[in-house]
Symmetry: C2
Subunit: 309 residues, 2 copies
Amino acid sequence: MTAPDLSNQIIESVPNFSEGRRPEVIEAIVAAIQAPGVLLLDQSSDWDHNRSVVTVAGSPAAVLEGLFRAVTVAAERINLFEHRGQHPRLGATDVVPLVPIRNITLEECADLAAQLGERIGRELELPVYLYEAAARLPERRNLADVRKGEFELLVQEIDQPARKPDFGPARVGPAGAVIAGARQFLIAYNFYLHSADVAIAKDIAKRIRFSSGGLPGVKALGLLVEGQAQVSVNLVDHTQTPLHTLMDKIMELAAQHGTTVEKTELIGLIPEEAILKAAAHYLRLCDFNRLRIIENAIQAAGEKAQSEA
Amino acid sequence: MTAPDLSNQIIESVPNFSEGRRPEVIEAIVAAIQAPGVLLLDQSSDWDHNRSVVTVAGSPAAVLEGLFRAVTVAAERINLFEHRGQHPRLGATDVVPLVPIRNITLEECADLAAQLGERIGRELELPVYLYEAAARLPERRNLADVRKGEFELLVQEIDQPARKPDFGPARVGPAGAVIAGARQFLIAYNFYLHSADVAIAKDIAKRIRFSSGGLPGVKALGLLVEGQAQVSVNLVDHTQTPLHTLMDKIMELAAQHGTTVEKTELIGLIPEEAILKAAAHYLRLCDFNRLRIIENAIQAAGEKAQSEA
């Protein structure tokens, strides 16, 4: 296994497989996904959901190859006619999102999702649907809509025009269908208020969430966590609503309620761009980019030296 | 040349050589410094100063080896008895600061400076003085004090007790003496005010600079740059005075003068820790560290995979 060249394009993928109980099947999928140049960042399996989520990263070519190999193994080893679990699913490999990390756009990731889908349809003869940024039909943008009725309903409806796959045959076997797409990196971020009043958190959540007229790319819930009011946010597009915009808006709304943000927490990972943009905003820093950070400059010099060696 | 292992210790060094005119000598020094694992980040030469500044980074062992080789070449090729230039200097390799970058303390860099100095004294038989964090005598902490009277005075005074080198013989040859030490990364950072009144910038500079009772590790000047008042700061220890403390203090002082900070600019590079600390401060973000950044997590996973391969 070789480390990816960070000076070039990097994508992440978080495929979901409909197997969370048989360790040998999960292991085979995780082994398959690690094609040369693919880095395994995380994996988790859930018995009740009967589902595994794997996080990988690398160059687009490496990640696409790893995903194809994992989809192949999942199709061989998982039978949806026998699959039971709490989580909705259409197929053995249920959903494959591609996420831009470095030197690549969301649109390019959507094109990659289509490339992967085309190959799965042609070589594995599985029906493939494209969703979110890769969707070719507006009604397929939303994952929940594509997955409506799950595998069991798709078996009955696959020959209807509305269910025609974007790639592969309009027929469903034991491996079901694959849903491939592209989305921005999702930042899961919590804001704790200096308050024990969950009504304040719920009001702030309602005002910032996009679905009720708030900030683009923001999903939010008001919760009470260990006695403290918390605004729990999924930032699905930090390029539309930067972290500092979210922070400043929540501070403003909290002040209207006579409280403030005591602390915030990040769940999981964050793209470098998102955190650096926040620093530059608050410091009013102009002409800043990641190569002005000495560690990144060292890294880039090392990669340049290696490529010239 | 191999890239450094970023998961381990990284230091930077910015040695200054008393040669800024003969390209073949500068090239020989720069070639020598690039021992295996040493990354050349920058080099610049000045004819008037007759001096070259080279920036390198890598593991402590690699950088120390590269520095020793460069000091050897400089001692062979530069004759201080014939050297003329505007910049003060004691030797062919004039000053060698070691700077902690990752997973290493200033104190460990001071120990490394002593190791390097001991080897230079023993193998090259050059007098070596330790300065700043590596200084063994309080009067040698300040570089300007160590360099007082320059090479020409040192030739006369080397046998005085106060001039006794920390390593090597108490005698001066054509290569002069080497001044080795350790310091924190220096952040050069400018704050532009919404004002054309240089008096405001000068007042703010006076109030923040440590030498007049301001913030620790802060050197500052008030300037007029293209008609705009600018507070120009050298932050010599960002661990003592974080960037956000500096920003907030200058904002507060600017407000007292009825103005504000319009924008800021970074000159050169900044350590990752300094910029991330600013982001976390303003976002009130708890439990954050560099491995929560996806690019860094990918990098670390890649290094782990390589070390296991």
